[in-house]
């Protein structure tokens, strides 16, 4: 049986940036994604998200469109300008999906309506990472 420690040093953690205004959702997503071996950075609004983009360039962004301050679509624009190859998964709880579709037209990887099962999100994050590589 191989010594896990030897291999774990070579494991490259993928970073997921979670942009969501609800602390409980941020915390839950953070915990679940960490269990799936992702490194998680969280942001509560657009300004924090833009700062996080600079400080810890993520491999995937989970972006809620209804965040205070800078809108989700504006954040999407900033991500596209700064890191166009970073896949963005848009989370939307609005029955009107025009903003989510707008984000897809801007190049978002996928759109996931809320509520969703974590399994579906996990699958999307994995396929976004696979498509990127």
């Amino acid at each position: 049986m191989p010594a896990l420690g030897m291999w774990s040093t070579q494991t490259i953690l993928r970073t997921v940036l979670v942009v969501h205004d609800e602390p409980q959702t941020r915390s839950l997503l953070s915990e679940l994604l960490t269990r799936c071996d992702y490194e998680v950075v969280t942001a509560a609004n657009g300004a924090e998200a833009v700062a996080a983009l600079r400080e810890t360039p993520p491999d995937v962004v989970l972006l809620d469109l209804t965040i205070p301050g800078m809108s989700g679509l504006e954040v999407m624009e900033r991500i596209q300008a700064a890191r166009p190859s970073t896949p963005v998964i848009v989370l939307s709880g609005s029955p009107d999906d025009s903003a989510a579709l707008g984000a897809v037209r801007m190049g978002a990887y996928a759109y996931l309506p809320k509520p969703f099962e974590f399994e579906h999100l996990q699958r999307l994050v994995a396929s976004a990472l696979a498509a990127r590589s």
């Binding site: 999906d97 989510a100 579709l101 897809v104 037209r105 190049g107 996928a110 759109y111 996931l112 309506p113 969703f116 099962e117 579906h120 699958r123 999307l124 396929s127 498509a131």
Partner: protein, 294 residues
């Protein structure tokens, strides 16, 4: 010089030869056989030990067996224990086969058989031999895989059909086709996908005039769109939609939706149970992605 008088040559056939032909035709009809039956017929026995490896120049029978083997063992697509493949010489005989063997109505048979190189039915798969003869190995393998996928879709659904899933069935059949070509070592899946994307982008029908997946949901509008707008707007688009669906949810979920046909006739209700995004949302999301390809 005397002009040469040309006499009509005496026929080598007996005087009433046409009566013999007529009688033979009548006998064939009386015995229930079509005068234009398939000129080749294969039975594909689906067993666990089917060879997936191919000789250098495989026969159609070997090719179909290898594809059936790969589909069942590598792609988890079930097939019935025995599948029959019928090969016809031309359009008219294929249509005749669809009527006499598959029991299709004449009008439906002409609709399905008019431009098709292959047709999957509940009794087996029907091919145009004249087209097969002009196809290279890659195209023949692709055609067999596409039609066998339709047989598998029926198997998953326990022969139950629902309305409104035409683009899903065709897109899935092409998705499996490209996976099979990859597994056979003929062409990598990514190359096939790139080729489809190029065909879609170069299509004479501009992307914004492509019919929506909703429009391609029924058999009638699929056929009409195919005839009017061509393959990139129909087969190409449907493949890309299924490829995106697989990337988003996995091919197991795509198989699952066909199994749900067994119990529930409402396609969009089935969709909501399998995928994390509603049917309408997916159709709109895919459209937005498609238009980004410009």
């Amino acid at each position: 010089m005397q002009p040469t008088r040309v006499r009509p040559a005496r026929s080598r056939h007996p005087r009433h030869w046409w009566l013999i032909v007529l009688a033979a035709t009548a006998l064939a009809l009386a015995s229930g056989e079509s005068p234009a039956g398939p000129y080749r017929e294969y039975e594909i026995r689906v067993t666990a030990d089917m060879p997936a490896a191919l000789a250098r120049n495989p026969t159609d029978s070997d090719l179909i067996h290898a594809i059936a083997s790969l589909m069942t063992t590598r792609l988890e697509l079930p097939l019935p224990p025995s599948v029959r493949a019928y090969v016809y010489v031309n359009e008219a005989t294929l249509v005749d086969g669809l009527i006499t063997l598959a029991g299709e109505k004449s009008e439906d048979a002409w609709d399905r058989g008019r431009f098709a190189a292959g047709v999957a039915t509940r009794v087996g798969i029907f091919f145009r031999g004249d087209y097969l003869a002009q196809m290279h190995l890659l195209a023949r393998a692709g055609l067999f895989a596409h039609e066998l996928t339709h047989v598998s879709q029926r198997t998953l659904a326990k022969n139950r059909r629902v309305r409104g899933d035409q683009w899903l069935r065709e897109g899935h059949a092409d998705w499996v086709k490209f996976r099979v070509l990859d597994l056979l070592g003929f062409r990598r899946f990514s190359e096939s996908r790139d080729e489809v994307m190029r065909a879609v982008l170069r299509s004479t029908t501009p992307l914004h005039l492509f019919p929506s997946l909703d429009t391609l949901a029924s058999n009638t509008s699929w056929t009409a769109s195919m005839n009017r707008l061509g393959a990139p707007a129909t087969y190409g688009q449907a493949f890309l939609a299924v490829d995106w669906l697989v990337e988003r949810h996995g091919d197991d979920k795509v198989r699952e939706i066909f199994t749900r046909h067994q119990a529930d006739g409402d396609f969009q209700a089935q969709w909501a149970k399998v995928f994390s995004i509603s049917y309408r949302e997916f159709v709109e999301e895919f459209r937005a992605r498609l238009e980004l390809m410009r």
